[in-house]
């Protein structure tokens, strides 16, 4: 899966949680999940669980803490997919 495909899959996962349509329209690797996409901080855990289901991976607590932007999410997903 290349980065573009990953981005499309990730967008599908985060969409239900996004509260800023503007932020979602202009989504880039540097988009901050909380500040730009306005995802409720409590919902971050649900986003991560949905990512796990979507990509069939397990994201450990340490990786979870780093997952603050779209780019960091893609990096972590890529790492976990490569470990499979």
């Amino acid at each position: 899966m290349n980065t573009e495909e990953l981005m499309e899959s990730l967008k599908k996962v985060v969409k239900p949680y996004v509260k800023s349509e503007e932020g979602f329209k202009n989504i880039t690797a540097s988009s901050d999940l909380i500040n730009d996409l306005k995802i409720n901080s409590a919902n971050l855990i649900d986003v991560i669980l949905d990512i796990e289901n979507e990509f069939d991976i397990v994201i450990d607590n340490a990786s979870m803490e780093k997952m603050l932007t779209v780019g960091s999410a893609i990096d972590i997903i890529t790492t976990k997919l490569n470990e499979k």
């Binding site: 239900p16 949680y17 409590a42 919902n43 971050l44 855990i45 649900d46 669980l49």
Partner: protein, 426 residues
């Protein structure tokens, strides 16, 4: 704080009942004596003796008018859903807007009997399977007892007292009195009060095991809930939510809000599980004291009570309840007020019962009608010996001026709640 003694009126109503969702449908249903009790295959499959119950019809499209798709994601708490629907309807019915900033003058006491058992079961199963990390963010929000009041506060922007009471089958009636006290004492202008209850096997199972539910009418569900009938054979379980928007009279008048009626007063007490009271049976002395205190607190003439909206669950305790009313009011035979039980149509909605039944009472009060008490064409002889049969309306009585309605609820733990609703005459 000094005693303020504000008058408290009802300016909004909302209901999610087995026989009608929303005030319009519910009003039509109670006028026509429509039962909301149906057969549930799932209960039979699980080996229940009582395979019938009342569950409100709330399709997904309707749910989405109240909660967002995100709120409904991984949502498994029908009680909270019913409570939000009824509460939001009552708020809107009162002509109030969703607050952009916290409304410091508005709060809620919205009760429930159990936490959301379906969500709890889902969570327990995951935890037992070693999957605690997959519970997601909302297992706590949906299983905390105060979940329903927390959801409502967030949706409406309530900035006063936000809490959930729990007192078995008194919960709904108690919430109304708690909100009433809050406004009366000047600590809030508006209180959204009511209660909700989940339905289904995990809530109803314990009652089935106690053999207190009807099991003789599985093939005839609409005839099963028979309060005050000689053939009453246990209660039929229900679920749902009822909500009332209580407001200080001055706030209601200032807003130009429509006023359904006034809360004249009420009382709460317990029998201490002494005398003939126990964990599951009411102490008659306490019931009588509660009704008596409510009347005293309301400062009304017992002869102006035109209607009793009873607790009347369709068990052997119905005759005892009628006797308690007759004793306190000192009114018997043809002199007894009209009396009816909504449970004949909705089943016993447990924690939500008092709230849904109070909504029905306020609708009657505002519109001067008395809904029929269905399924008691064969009045229990012990009740017939105390009051005249015509006092239990078998069909709708319209254009029947109502001055005062007394509403009572009694619950496990030997607890009692009684409210006096009064026609608002300016």
């Amino acid at each position: 704080m000094q005693e303020v003694n504000n008058r408290v009126v009802i300016t909004g109503l909302g209901v999610v009942a087995p026989n009608g969702v929303g005030i319009t449908d519910f009003t039509n249903a109670i006028k026509q004596g429509i039962s909301g009790i149906s057969y549930h295959k799932e209960l039979e499959t699980l080996g229940f003796s009582c395979c019938i119950g009342g569950i409100p019809l709330v399709p997904e499209a309707l749910q989405l008018q109240y909660l967002s798709a995100l709120q409904l994601k991984n949502f498994n708490s029908p009680g909270i859903l019913y409570g939000c629907m009824a509460g939001m309807d009552a708020w809107k019915d009162a002509g109030l807007m969703i607050n952009e900033t916290a409304d410091w003058d508005s709060g809620t006491v919205f009760g429930t009997g159990t936490t959301s058992v379906e969500k709890f079961r889902e969570s327990v199963n995951k935890i037992d399977a070693g999957q605690v990390r997959t519970l997601g963010s909302n297992a706590v929000l949906q299983t905390m007892t105060s979940g329903v009041s927390a959801y409502l506060s967030g949706i409406l922007g309530l900035g006063n007292l936000v809490t959930s009471n729990s007192s078995a089958c008194c919960t709904g009636t108690e919430s109304i009195l708690m909100g009433y006290e809050r406004i009366r004492s000047g600590n809030a202008k508006r209180m959204l009060v009511g209660a909700c209850s989940d339905g289904g096997p995990y809530v109803w199972g314990g009652f089935d095991a106690m053999r207190v539910m009807s099991y003789k009418h599985n093939d005839n569900p609409e005839k099963a809930s028979r309060p005050m009938s000689a053939t009453a054979n246990g209660f039929v379980p229900g679920s749902g939510a009822g909500a009332l928007l209580l407001e200080s009279l001055s706030s209601a008048v200032e807003r130009g809000a429509k006023i359904y009626g006034e809360i004249a007063g009420g009382a709460l007490n317990a029998g201490g599980q002494r005398g003939n009271g126990s964990m599951t049976a009411p102490n008659s002395e306490a019931v009588q004291r509660c009704i008596s205190k409510a009347i005293e607190n309301a400062g009304v003439d017992v002869n102006e009570i035109d209607l009793i909206n009873g607790h009347l669950t369709a068990t052997s305790k119905d005759a005892e309840e009628i006797n308690n009313w007759a004793t306190v009011l000192n009114r018997k035979g043809k002199n007894f007020p009209y009396v009816h039980s909504l449970k004949a149509m909705t089943g016993h909605c447990l924690a939500a019962a008092g709230a849904i039944e109070s909504v029905a009472a306020v609708i009657c009060l505002a519109n001067d009608f008395i809904f029929p008490s269905i399924n008691c064409e064969d009045i229990h002889p012990d009740i017939g010996a105390i009051i005249d049969a015509e006092k239990i309306p078998q069909r709708l009585l319209e254009n029947n001026k109502l001055r005062l309605i007394a509403k009572a609820s009694f619950g496990f733990g030997d607890i009692n709640a009684c409210l006096i609703f009064k026609k608002y005459n300016g």
